[in-house]
C-alpha cells in the first residue's frame, strides 16, 4: 500500500485505513486469546466435573493437620491450609530476600576481583565463575546439603565454638537475643533514633557538599543512633533484651537461634550460584564505562576505591540493573529446588497440601500465582530503582 496519495479530504474507506485496521487487528487478537483461554478452562472444568472433581478453592479453609519444619510466622497443625501455604510463601520470601542481598554483595566483590590487576585474585575469580556457572544448581544444592551440611558431626558430638555456637548436622545453633516485656518500649527509642540519625546524616552530607570539608555523615549518623539506643536502654525498666543460649535438651537444641541444614544449604547454594552470574553482569557493567572516565579520575588524583565508588559504579549501574533484575528473579524461582533437600518452601508445602487434598489444578494455580506475583513485585521494584538511577545522570 502506498502512503503518498493519502490526503486529508479523501480519507480511505475504513477497511483500508491503517489506523482502523490496527485497532481491529488488536481486538481480534484479544478475542482469539480470550476464546482459547475460555475454551481451555471450560474443557478442564467439564472434564473434572464429569469425574466428580469439581474445581474450587474452598479446601483452603479446612484444617491442614500437618506440622511444618520451619515456621517464621506462628503456625500449628490446627491452622488452615491457607495459613500453611502462607508459611511456605514466607519461607520462600525469607530465603529469596536474604539470598538476593548476599548474592549481590558476593557478586559485586567477585565481579570487581575479576577485573583486578592482581593476577592471583583475577585467576581465583575466573575459576570460581567458570566452575559455578557451568554446573547445574540442583547438583550444587545436593553437594551443599549432603556433602557439607550433613557431614557435620552428629548432634551429641556437636562442635562448640565460643559464644556458644554449636555446629552439628542438625544445623547451626547459636546464642541470640530474646526480647523481654520492655522490648517494644525500647523499639520506639530505636525507631526515633533512626529518624534523627537520618536527619543528622542528611545535614552532614549537605555540609560536606556545601563547604567541601569532610562531613563524616556515616560516623555522625551511627553515633546519633547509638546514643538513642543507649539512652533508651537505661530509661526502660529492666533490660529490653536478654541473651538466649542454646542448650541440648532431649533430642534437640532448645533456645537461641537455629539455622537448619536445609535452609543453610539452600541459601549457600543459591548465593554461590547466583553470585557467579551477578559477577559477570557487574564486570560487563564496569567495562561498559568509558576508559576516559577512569583516566580522568586518575588525573584528579582519586584513589582506586574513590574512582570505583564515585566515578565508575554510578555509571555502571545503568547497564547493570536490568540484567541484575533477571538474576534476582532467577534466584527466587530457583528456590523452588528446595524440595529436593527438604526445605519447606512454598513448593514443598504446596506438595503436601496437594497430597492431602488431591486438588492438583488448584494447588498448581496457587503455586504459579505466588511465583508470578513475587517476580512481578521484584521487577516493579527494580524498574523503579532503575529509573531512579537513570535520572541521576544527565
Amino acid at each position: 500500500m502506498t502512503t503518498a496519495t493519502v490526503s486529508e479530504h479523501a480519507r480511505p474507506p475504513f477497511w483500508r485505513d491503517e489506523r482502523v485496521l490496527a485497532v481491529i487487528a488488536q481486538i481480534i487478537f484479544l478475542i482469539v486469546v480470550i476464546v482459547v483461554a475460555a475454551y481451555m478452562y471450560s474443557n478442564m472444568y467439564h472434564e473434572l466435573s464429569r469425574r466428580g472433581l469439581k474445581p474450587g478453592f474452598d479446601f483452603l479453609k479446612l484444617e491442614a493437620g500437618f506440622p511444618i519444619g520451619e515456621t517464621p510466622i506462628p503456625y500449628t497443625p490446627g491452622d488452615t491450609y491457607a495459613r500453611a501455604f502462607l508459611v511456605g510463601v514466607v519461607n520462600t520470601i525469607k530465603v529469596s530476600v536474604i539470598g538476593i542481598i548476599l548474592a549481590t554483595i558476593l557478586g559485586i566483590v567477585i565481579g570487581v576481583a575479576r577485573l583486578s590487576t592482581n593476577w592471583l585474585l583475577r585467576a581465583i575469580a575466573t575459576v570460581y565463575i567458570e566452575i559455578i556457572r557451568n554446573t547445574p544448581l540442583l547438583v550444587q544444592l545436593f553437594f551443599w546439603f549432603t556433602a557439607v551440611m550433613l557431614k557435620f558431626p552428629r548432634i551429641k558430638q556437636a562442635i562448640r565454638l565460643p559464644g556458644p555456637i554449636y555446629l552439628s548436622n542438625r544445623g547451626i545453633a547459636m546464642v541470640w537475643f530474646k526480647p523481654t516485656e520492655s522490648f517494644s518500649l525500647w523499639l520506639i527509642f530505636l525507631l526515633a533514633g533512626l529518624v534523627v540519625a537520618t536527619l543528622v546524616f542528611r545535614y552532614r552530607s549537605h555540609y560536606q557538599d556545601r563547604t567541601g570539608n569532610p562531613g563524616y555523615p556515616w560516623i555522625f549518623g551511627s553515633a546519633t543512633w547509638l546514643l538513642f539506643a543507649l539512652v533508651g536502654w537505661f530509661l526502660v525498666p529492666g533490660a529490653p533484651i536478654t541473651v538466649d543460649k542454646p542448650v541440648l535438651a532431649g533430642l534437640n537444641f532448645k533456645g537461641g537461634a537455629r539455622l537448619t541444614p536445609e535452609f543453610s544449604a539452600l541459601l549457600v547454594g543459591l548465593v554461590v550460584y547466583t553470585a557467579a552470574f551477578i559477577a559477570e553482569v557487574v564486570r560487563a557493567g564496569i567495562l561498559a564505562v568509558d576508559k576516559g572516565q577512569r583516566e580522568a579520575a586518575k588525573a584528579l588524583g582519586l584513589t582506586d576505591f574513590q574512582m570505583m565508588r564515585y566515578i565508575v559504579f554510578p555509571q555502571a549501574m545503568r547497564v547493570i540493573i536490568p540484567p541484575l533484575t533477571s538474576q534476582y528473579l532467577n534466584l527466587t524461582k530457583n528456590s523452588s529446588l528446595a524440595v529436593a533437600i527438604g526445605y519447606p518452601d512454598l513448593f514443598n508445602v504446596a506438595g503436601t497440601i496437594f497430597n492431602q487434598t488431591g486438588k492438583s489444578i488448584e494447588v498448581i494455580t496457587l503455586i504459579m500465582g505466588s511465583y508470578l506475583s513475587m517476580s512481578l513485585l521484584t521487577s516493579l521494584f527494580m524498574n523503579w530503582y532503575n529509573r531512579r538511577v537513570r535520572l541521576v545522570e544527565r
Binding site: 493437620g65 506440622p67 535438651a249 533430642l251 503436601t352 488431591g358
Partner: protein, 369 residues
Amino acid sequence: MHRKVFILMLGLLVLLVVLGACASGSQEKQLVTMEVTKEVTVIVTKEVPAAAAKSKLDVVMERGKLICGVNANLPGFGYLDQNGQYAGFDIDFCKALAAALFDDPSKVEYRPLTAKERFTAVQTGEVDVLIRNTTWTLSRDTSVGMDFAPTTFYDGQGIMVRKADNIKSLEDLQGATICVSTGTTTELNLADQMRAHGIDYTPVVFETADATFGAYEEGRCDAVTTDKSGLVSRKSLLKNPEEHVILDVTLSKEPLSPAVLQGDSKWLDVVKWVVFATFQAEEFGITSQNVDDFKNSDNPGIRRFLGLEGDLGKGLGLTNDFAYRVIKHVGNYAEIYDRNLGPNTPFNLPRGPNSLWTDGGLLYSPPFR
C-alpha cells in the same frame, strides 16, 4: 503486504463469527459457515461420546502393551534388579495383568513414578494402572479420582530409629526430628498420630524416598517413617542395618492396592479379577508348576476358573483362560509373595494378614462363577 495481513485478520474474524454463530445459525456467508460448522461438529462428536464409550481396556488391547505406573526404588516391591530389569511384588502384578491381556508377561512398559507424581499420571492417562505401594483411602477413591482394585498387600506404618538413641515408644519421640517423604499417606498419618498423642516433632519433608533415608542415615533426623514393608526393605540398604531398629508401634492401616482412573468399570473389573485370580489359585492349590495338571481336573469350580468351561473371561472382555495365563506366567499369590518377600529373600517378611482367609488372613476372593 498489508493487504495480506488484512485478509488474514478478516479470515480469522469470519472464523470467529462462525464459531459464535454455530448455535444460533447465521444466514449470511452460508458457504463458509457450512464448511467450518461441519469441521467443528466432527470434532465434537468424536470427543464426547467416544470418551464415554471407549474403555481403557480397548485402548490397552489396541496398543498391544500395558503401561504400568510403578516404584523404581523400593526393593522387594518395585526396583531394578542386577540386570537392570524391573522386579518386585508390585511389578509381578503388572506382569500378571499383561499375561491376562496378551498371554505375555513382558508386554509391559514400566513408568517409574514418585509418590507425588503418581495420581496425576493416572488422572492424565499417562499410565493405565498404578501398582506402586499405594494406600487405598476414601479421599483417593473419591476426590483424587482413583478406583481401587483389591488390596494386594496389607501393610501398616512404622517408625525406624537408631538403637543407640534408646527410643522405645512414640512418647520417647517428644521433640524429635522425623524424616518423611512427601506425597505419601505416611506424611499425613504421622501428623495425625503425633497430634493424638500430644507429641511435638519437627518434620523434614523430602521429595524422594532416597533423599529421605539418606538424610536419616546421615543423622539429620532421629527417626524415619514409612510403611513397615518399606522400612524392612530400606533397612536392608543401610550401611549398618543392625544399628537400626523398627519400633513395635503401628501408626496406621495401609492397604496397598492397584489403582485405575475413576469411572471406567470395565477396566477396573479386569484389574480386580486378575488380582482375585492369584488369591483363588492359591486357595485351589494351583501353582505355575502344576497348573497344566489341573486341566484334567473334574472339579467344575476349577474348570470354570481355568476357562475350560463357561464364559467367565469373555464377560470381562478377556479370553476365557485369562486366569490360566496369569498362573502359568506369573504364579499364584503365594508364589509372588515368596519370590519377592518370602524366607529366601533378604526381607523374610511373615505373611501375617497377607494370608488366605482360610489361614486366618485377609485375602478373600469372591467366587469365580
